[in-house]
């Protein structure tokens, strides 16, 4: 069953600015969908339209079988976790959790039961009588999640919930959010600009750019079959190398060098996409000769920043590094080469 159906949604502001330009996505029951994209791509606007905090200019949002376009946020059966937690500073943790239930006329006994249940689940039981200002960032984040859980909503909406936490806590909370969402079985939309969060959390990723969907797919699909140069450069770290090249008769030519590829349908200028981690420094075979520049040792992997003709290329590998300023031979497997249209940037 489908929990949320977003159909041809547009968002135009009174000043004429268009934040969302026709987006359609479905969120299935229990599914965690991540909206990812750079700032200004419309991902937060999408989420806020689902929440009812922004009006929908055009299109339809259907939650659990009913169109919610004209419903108030409180009538939509959603729960949202905000970037800066948005806890009520004057209420204790317990009251923060209970507030939404109380306003819906839930009996006190049931409120107490739900609050205690959520507190236990999130291990915030000992903080229930404290004020938010007495909690650490991670604890506040838990309270914010608790506030969403007690509502037992049709869908969770996460608006970059981890971006205010430090790196270590972020990794830990990321895992917890995933476990929690799985065990509750509630559908969720998670908005982030962090591709690592997107890759690790998502059942499906929606990559947004400039108010439009670039690609929808499972994390691995988005990584291995990027639909456009935008997706290719956005998902994966370090980003995919995108090289200007020319294709003709099954041979590809870059900066005066050429070799055979399995791509014969198209001829002319293209963009060749190569993931840094799929390139190897080889001692022989067919490949590109590059000029080795700066080397970066990250511990687990080592990055070689090289130049191929007048274009930059990054290679990630874990074996021995070549000498700086030397020449190296770079090889890759045929199915690791991605071809994109030079003008539209779409995958060929």
């Amino acid at each position: 069953m489908t929990t949320l159906r977003i159909k041809d949604v547009f968002k135009r502001y009174p000043n004429g600015a268009e934040a969302v330009k026709g987006v359609s996505v479905d969120v299935e029951d229990g599914e965690l969908v991540v909206f990812v994209g750079p700032s200004g791509c419309g991902k937060s606007t999408m989420l806020r339209m689902v929440a009812g905090l922004e009006s929908v200019t055009e299109g339809e949002i259907e939650l659990a079988g009913r169109v919610v376009n004209d419903l108030e946020p409180a009538e939509r059966n959603i729960a949202m976790v905000f970037q800066n937690y948005a806890l009520y500073p004057h209420m204790s943790v317990r009251k923060n959790l209970a507030y939404g239930l109380k306003n819906r006329g839930t009996p006190q006994a049931e409120i107490d039961r739900k609050v205690d249940e959520a507190a236990k689940l999130l291990q915030i039981g000992e903080f229930l009588d404290r004020k938010p200002s007495q909690l650490s960032g991670g604890q506040r984040q838990r309270v914010a999640m608790g506030r969403a859980i007690v509502r037992d909503p049709a869908i969770f909406l996460f608006d970059e919930p981890l971006s205010n936490l430090d790196a270590k806590l972020r990794n830990q909370m990321r895992l917890e959010i995933k476990k929690l969402q799985r065990s509750l079985g509630t559908a969720a939309i998670y908005v982030t600009h962090d591709q690592v969060e997107a890759m690790t959390l998502a059942d499906r990723i929606v990559v947004l750019n400039n108010g439009l969907i670039e690609q929808v797919g499972k994390p691995h699909e988005v990584y291995s079959q990027p639909a456009s140069t935008f997706v290719a450069s956005f998902i994966g770290a370090p980003p995919m190398n995108l090289l200007d090249a020319t294709l003709s008769d099954g041979r590809i030519e870059i900066g005066g060098q050429s070799f055979a590829v399995q791509q014969t349908q198209k001829a002319g200028p293209i963009k060749l996409g190569l993931r840094p981690e799929r390139l190897q420094v080889a001692s022989g075979g067919e490949g590109f000769r590059v000029e080795v520049g700066v080397l970066e040792d990250l511990g687990a992997t080592r990055l070689i920043h090289a130049r191929l003709g007048d274009q930059d290329l990054t290679i990630a590998q874990d074996s021995e590094l070549p000498e700086p300023s030397s020449e190296a031979l770079i090889t890759f497997r045929h199915d690791d080469a991605h071809f994109f249209d030079a003008s539209s940037g779409r995958r060929i």
């Binding site: 929440a51 009812g52 905090l53 108030e72 946020p73 409180a74 009538e75 939509r76 959603i78 729960a79 949202m80 905000f82 970037q83 800066n84 937690y85 948005a86 806890l87 009520y88 500073p89 004057h90 507030y99 939404g100 306003n103 004020k131 200002s133 506030r147 509502r151």
Partner: protein
Amino acid sequence: MEKAQFQSRWMPYLLLAPQMVIIAIFFIWPAAEAIRASFFLEDPFFGNSTFVGLQNYTDALSASDYKRTAWFTVVFTVLVSLLSLALGMMLAVSADRVLRGQSTYKTLLMWVYAIAPPVAGLIGVMLFDQHIGPLVDFAAMFGWHLQIGVDYWDTGFAMIVVSTWKQVPYCFIFFLSGLQSIPTSVKEASAIDCQSETRRFWTITFPLLAPTTFFLLILNITYAMFETFGTIDQIVKDQPGNSPVTLVYKVFRDGFRGNDIGGSSAQSVILMIFVLLLTIVQFRLIERRIHYT
């Protein structure tokens, strides 16, 4: 915080000196003088004074017009403080919600604050004038014949209206900035948690404005008791005797119009003690219950 040390140990005192001098000249010296004078009976013509002990105090406190003035001061202060708070908050909440032309509304609501109290008093006198005052005509439409300067309560009513009008913009400015300091996401979270806007106001906005409200309450009480002097003076100075005044105005009138320096000093010492107690009570009792973010 880093601790800075001055080269010379006299430097801090030198830097404090201007403020200390101002406090000494304009507060400590007159206050000491008032306390001294309150124990003497001053001769208005030759400057001779006779020590009378606490007689000025007992006279002041037992006089029936003192009790009447004190009672009016309480009513006046409570009404002016609370009405300014309520109206200021109401206007701020409305202005905060306006999307178009917000700055115009804000300016229109704030400019009254720029008027000096005597000028406000003058405008008030004009608005309540027996012959040309539009407010008198307005009240007459409901069968209420306002007689400023003649009827005790009508005059009091005019004073409260004019004083409140003067203080509302001040409250408005503070409430508006208080409202705008509530994070948008908290307002949005409450919109998701609570459907009723009225309920949201009383459970989220109002408690978060509490520090502002408390601050303004103290300022309003001080304003109503002391700073309304100019306004009151404009309304009552040319009128016959039966007009309500506040204790501060009575101090002025008894001292400088009635030439009873001793009695007037005793009254101002009583006021001083009252303000001291009021301050202690306010900070001890009320501040404890207020959440500061």
